[in-house]
Symmetry: C2
Subunit: 407 residues, 2 copies
DNA sequence: CGAGATTTGTATTGTGGATGAACTTATCGC
DNA sequence: GCGATAAGTTCATCCACAATACAAATCTCG
């Protein structure tokens, strides 16, 4: 999880001493998790059966969660069966919200999501941030975030945290953005941002855009897909592996540079200085240029050309799809992931890429003859990373609801 | 961890209800972990300071662990400082042992290791298991394991479990070996093996050889390297990523087929049916044949030729090292791992491969200009997977020492 | 329509494990 | 030998969950 950071320890026996209060924390999180994951409202009795706790214990925990506005009680409904009707419990609406922020090449924005999944605020500001000044852009973003937080709090919503998505390599330990090629940013110190309102109150975590988009995808699939690879196609190509409902964040906290998987060692020169990287075949710039279009033009131009049967466009997509398939096949052999979600520009392009990707996967994945490998376009919607950031904040809350309990 | 298997759940709130006994389990494991990780014997007071538990609680926990022969108390030593001398606590020697088993192409064996790291029994039987009959080989292995377990128990050693390493894709959910190309095994049902002595008593987990070798490497480095990539070079090439002291086991429990990373999409045909896989450049067979040697010959032949300056041998190693570097660069870009350990045949070959690997990493790894990336030969010793299997059994014990408490 | 059955949720008492303070044990320094 | 110091133990207390009993709300059936 991008949010959790433990101090480094020498051995495998991580963690800290467990005391009585730890039981509370664990069981609060357990109960809350069951309510959040459920498709329909559940009762205290349901929770007791599902968790193995007694009804008395569940009641005590639920009362705490209701009091702290995390859960809401509905009106009892007659189900037609014998017995006292159950009180339905649901995630509270409009009480607590996570803030998801994003700076990307062509927009910035702020989105607030509550525990029920409702979007309480949504600000998306188009703009060209190519070669922009980080200080200016981030100050603009902070001001808009402060406005949103202020409005929400006036409406009685507690904002519990904020998460910023950036299209680049983030180093959480050094608290800086290492490099975001498409913004033209490098070595941006992020610690100063945490001193600025509203982040001085809310806190702020900064994460790679693909990782947070993957969280949004996970939620969009109703938390039902435990493991998948999210591929974020933009100018660069990011990947985020979700494994057992957790984003695998790379060894040092940043990762997923799928775009710099080598496809052909002596292939075209990539912006990174190496030859034959996936990005040089299947990044947005590479596709647009190969199709004879403006590098900065809208993606729909490429789709339109392809629909017309334009030969250069089709060739660009075939080559991009082929390269993507080669890179994904290696990735699948390494991780055995069985589900691949194509996001970013690959969402709309999926119909054009599909066959080319599938052919390489079929030829190169070891388990292809025996196992199903699903490749699908993303369901996470527009500005997925903004949604994912907000969801990630709420996931942090769900992992430790005791932090929100009234004193 | 290969040993732990939870039932699949829908959401992120994994785990089960925490009750009072959970505190004991957690804190027992915490205390034990500190003793196992320590470089020197520690006292109860040290443990209290390190864990945050009170001395009273630590004492109670340690007494349980001593009683169940997991920890041993030494004689108090005068340290020269004031105060009552501390009782040094160490992992018990010769009381509990894990059994590590392995079937590989040219040998099979059984190794027993205790909590102190001593090898209590070691049986390695050379033999050619190319195209062998799984039933015959596994029956042979079981008989030798039973002998070892019997001898140990006659010496008062409790054997707490067994772990089998196989050079292939293991599917723990279906309880079968899917395929082990170099043994010529495919779709071997492993559940029957669990009914045979001694595994009917000891239990048995089956894991990919590279994953267990990585565990051995982790221990050989004194548990001090939390994250690294272990590369197992044999006829095939496996990889195991250790992340925060845990083996990343792949999404479905098997993984790490580094050997089938595509190096050149139109490269030489690989045994898997695809073209240009790493294995076709840098697998043992590929190297030997390219050097003009017998595919099945000993590795020292290749080293000898290289030492003589034999041109085909040097060319084979250059090409293999180049391909390995290309594949590892993609892997590093995906995971940001900062430490690569070369095991199997790459241990002895490391001096010959080093420069070629490093050149490609330097050219292709995004963070190469800024970050140190260490590539080293393995320290885990011969038959690393056998050691790793035994260690893994003991790690399972350390994670839940309450299971060994006397009733 | 009323008595029993059934299920939900609450109140009460008991238990296990950690805490914290006081106590005992063993050594050092003077 | 005596105080200081540190390790380890004893014991009363607290806290969270378990178990049991009970109250509340609905259905079923005579």
């Amino acid at each position: 999880m991008p949010t959790s950071k433990q101090p480094p320890r020498r051995g495998p026996a991580r963690g800290t001493a467990a005391r009585q209060a730890s039981l509370r924390e664990h069981n609060l999180s357990l109960v809350l998790g069951h309510v959040l994951d459920a498709d329909a409202p559940v009762s205290r009795a349901d929770l007791a059966a599902a968790t193995g706790l007694t009804r008395a214990t569940v009641s005590a925990l639920v009362d705490l969660l209701v009091e702290s506005r995390v859960l809401a009680e509905g009106e009892p409904v007659q189900t037609g069966t014998a017995g006292r009707p159950a009180v339905p419990l649901t995630p509270a609406r409009g009480t607590l919200a996570g803030l998801g922020l994003e700076v990307n090449v062509d927009y910035l924005g702020v989105r607030a999501v509550d525990l029920a999944g409702d979007v309480l605020a949504d600000v998306v500001v188009p703009g060209d941030h190519h070669a922009s000044d980080p200080a200016v852009v981030l100050a603009d973003l902070a001001a808009r975030a402060a406005d949103v937080a202020h409005d929400l709090e006036a409406r009685g919503v507690d904002v519990v945290g904020a998460s910023l998505a950036l299209p680049g390599l983030v180093d959480p330990s050094a608290d800086r953005l290492r490099v975001a090629p498409n913004l033209g940013w490098a070595d941006v110190d992020l610690s100063a941002l945490r001193e600025v309102a509203p982040f001085d109150r809310l806190g702020l975590t900064v994460t790679n855009e693909a990782n947070l988009a993957a969280v949004a995808e996970w939620r969009a699939r109703r938390r039902a897909l435990p493991s998948f690879l999210y591929v974020s196609g933009e100018v660069g190509i990011g990947g985020a592996l979700v494994h057992e409902h957790a984003v695998f964040g790379g060894v040092r906290g940043w990762s997923g540079e799928l775009g710099h998987t080598t496809v052909e060692p002596d292939g075209p020169l990539c912006a990174c200085g190496a030859h034959g990287c996936l990005e040089a075949y299947a990044g947005k710039d590479a596709l647009m240029i190969a199709a004879g279009l403006d590098r900065l033009g809208p993606l729909v131009d490429l789709c339109a050309r392809a629909d017309e049967g334009d030969a250069p466009a089709l060739a660009a997509l075939a080559r991009g799809g082929w390269a993507l398939g080669v890179a994904l096949a290696s990735f699948v052999n390494l991780t055995d992931v069985a589900h691949i979600v194509l996001g970013g520009i690959y969402g709309p392009l999926e119909p054009y890429l599909r066959a080319h990707v599938a052919a390489e996967l079929e030829a190169r994945v070891l388990t292809a003859p025996r196992e199903d490998l699903v490749v699908e376009p993303s369901l996470a919607g527009a500005e997925a990373a903004m949604t994912g950031g907000a969801v990630e904040v709420l996931r942090g809350l769900a992992a430790d609801p005791s932090s929100r309990l009234p004193a």
